[in-house]
């Protein structure tokens, strides 16, 4: 009933809206907050999403393990920080934790990130850290078949680029016809590798650092690539197409909020973050579809943050079809092929754009 709310205390607009003690450092969706309250806001949002991993009464050493892929972007690094903090708190209060983190870094040949792993290890020694290279994905089931340049031959093309996994990978990327296809394939391969790793290491779930902004970008990008049918799985928390559930604990936060949060953390998170500047849309020659969406949402999140959250919310309303009784799945993105692909194709329409040589 209206009117039942307690009369609000007079609000001092020059102070932080929540604690009314310190000066505001940032305005979050029209609320000015000080650094401390803001950090608490960020942590609370993440912890809320982690509720399903509450402390269980198990022997220490028996807790579930969750995989956290770390790209050293602001979002996954911030996630690592917040979760480490939560776990410390749990350990202090109850002397056990609800889960253990296994952090994985996939090296993609980006020199800036590869050397950061040791710094992160030092900072958060309580977790298990691993690193692997993207070329390891060739050891994953089903992937080498995707790399066949010539569908009629049953062997991996060995001549091009040498027989090393990295060489095969490089020649594969080189053979693709557009930057979008390269980017797309890279993302999918990283996902496949992470899933394989999770399964090998008995991880119960994968915690991705995707922010609301990133999820919105992916929604539109996948739509533009023809994978509308896979959207329910792209943004949903829970069971995924790959057999290991994916969770996005940062889904309620915008990228700009996370970046700001990272700058308030002490000691600074900045030295373990590599953030890519978003390229301005000067020429669309080498822009990828994902870049386009990134640029777009970067401007939208400035002025209309709720719209970003709305896109994610809307997409999560789409009902995923059950995977029961699905006969064939796309070999690349695992979406059920029923009606999503031409006859006898191994890939769905969206993936055919990326790997055209496989649709014979």
């Amino acid at each position: 009933m209206p009117g039942r709310r307690a009369p609000a205390a007079p609000v001092d607009h020059s102070l932080c809206r929540r604690c009314q003690l310190s000066e505001p450092a940032i305005t979050v969706r029209t609320e000015p907050l000080c650094a401390a309250c803001f950090s608490r806001y960020v942590s609370t949002k993440v912890v809320k999403r982690m509720e399903s991993f509450r402390v269980r009464h198990l022997e220490p050493g028996d807790e579930r393990v969750l995989l956290l892929p770390l790209s050293f972007g602001p979002c996954s690094t911030a996630l690592l920080h917040v979760l480490s903090h939560q776990l410390k708190g749990q350990a202090e209060k109850t002397s056990r934790t609800g889960y253990k983190l296994h952090v994985l870094h996939v090296e993609c040949g980006n020199a800036a990130t590869d050397s950061l792993l040791s710094k992160v290890r030092e900072r958060y020694p309580e977790h298990v850290f691993s690193s692997c290279s993207l070329s390891d994905v060739l050891a994953v089931d089903g992937v080498p078949e995707l790399f066949q340049q010539d569908p009629s031959s049953g062997q991996l093309e060995q001549e091009q680029g040498g027989s090393s996994p990295q060489g095969s990978l490089d020649s594969m990327f080189a053979s693709l016809n557009s930057p979008t296809a390269r980017d797309d394939l890279k993302q999918i391969l990283i996902q496949k590798l992470v899933v394989a790793f999770a399964k090998q290491n008995n991880c119960e779930a994968v915690l991705w650092g995707d922010s609301a902004t990133r999820l919105a970008e992916r929604t539109l990008a996948e739509t533009a690539k023809g994978r509308g049918a896979s959207l329910p799985w792209v943004v949903a928390d829970g069971d995924m197409l790959y057999g290991v559930p994916f969770y996005y604990p940062m889904r309620d936060l915008l990228r700009k909020e996370i970046t700001a949060f990272a700058s308030y953390v002490e000691p600074a998170l900045e030295d373990i973050i590599v953030s890519e500047a978003v390229k301005p849309a000067v020429s669309t020659k080498n822009t990828t579809i994902d870049d386009l969406m990134k640029q777009y949402f970067e401007s939208v999140e400035q002025e209309y943050p709720s719209i970003v959250a709305n896109v994610v919310k809307t997409t999560s309303k789409l009902q995923a079809t059950s995977l029961q009784g699905v006969e064939t799945q796309c070999e690349l993105c695992n979406v059920p092929l029923d009606g999503q692909a031409p006859e006898r194709s191994r890939l769905c329409y969206g993936c055919i754009r990326t790997l055209p040589h496989l649709s014979s």
Partner: protein, 473 residues
Amino acid sequence: MPPHVCQICNTARAQILRPKNHARICAPCFIAIFEREVAETITANHLFQPGERVAIGASGGKDSTVLASVLKTLNERHAWGLDLVLLSIDEGITGYRDHSLEAVKRNSAEYELPLKIVSYEELYGWSMDQVVAQIGKKGNCTYCGVFRRQALDRGAAMLGVGHVVTGHNADDVAETVLMNLLRGDLPRLSRATSIVTSTPSASRPKPAADGLPGAVSFTDVKRSKPLMYAYEKEIVMYAHHKKLDYFSTECMYSPEAFRGSARTLIKNLERIRPESILDVVRSGVDMAKLVPDADGNCKGACRNKKTSGNDVGEVVEEEAEGGCGGTDGQEAGGEMAEMEQKLFQDAQAEENGAETEITMPAKAVDGQRHDGHDVSSTAAAPTANEINGQNHDRHTRPLPPGPALDGGTIPIRTKQEKKSSRKPTKDAPPPRQKLGQCDRCGYLSSQAVCKACMLLEGLNKARPRTGIEVGGG
């Protein structure tokens, strides 16, 4: 560099780089393949019955002109036996519609197709010029949109035609898909991507409105988009190479910031990867299947049926046109800011536990007609309903005036809503929004009186007794 040879006939010089897939072909082959693809769309989706009477929504713009030309050609080539007629809407805006109507008349003569022009004056007793004279330039776009919605259906019914085809192209549909994703409007998204939209009554055999055999009630008109998979650029190319006569008016996207945004994205996407336009359309079609409660027909939102026959900034009903007297006081970006505010307020209200909608008690969330899921909290319901994009007639929150998301609402509505929400609450779930009929005119409406009748009532009450005429006499 030697000239390329057409990739299809391998003989003529290739003059055209096809926008759809960058194929190099000659002009005759392009015309042939364009027509063939439209024919395939039509047959694959079973759009037409042999011998059917079909009205082509013609505005004189490029899409409808090409549509008329292609349909006539294919009709003869494949002997579909369709009875084609051109149907045009005259809003009664001097100096705007006149030129495109002339183009339609020329088309009618050239293709030898009968033409029917329906004017707002004829249908409602008010032309847009008169409406603007009456109510000024604020809110007039609402009237135009609401009237247009019904005008095509009524015009078709007057002709005894149950099927209207419109010139929506792939770019239009792709824009609508992205736009509705940005707005969080899933039901509209699923309607936009269906190649045929029919009112539920059209699927049920119904006795004709006035009992005469062959008469068509305007609630039974279905619409289809044969050009749905044709790129806008290719339509322009086709018109150019066949030397078709059309009048291109500027596309006005002024208050529609979402569509403008979506349009920019589409244009950029096309530059990156031309196939992406069709990919977006396909994604949209797939997504539509995943929308809860979607069964291919508009669910309780038939009042918001698409209008068309009009290329100018059209496709979606709430499109306000700059030409009809003004942008209604909203600047570009206004719409997104509005939505942002609404969403933000919803989120705030949720947090405070205040109500954003008068809902039935918690256990009845299931009965609410919107998503049917997300039952986890009642607080989720109001926002969910909002996002649904369905006409929020059950809200007591006044919606912003002007060409808002659903073609605008008028404050009058809030009183009606309050009355209806005070209905006896004996049944636990609130009544589902029913597809009824307007008491006055019989048009499909979820309210007792449809929007057009309501607006007309307001207009007629204020109409001066004697006509005000300018000039002599």
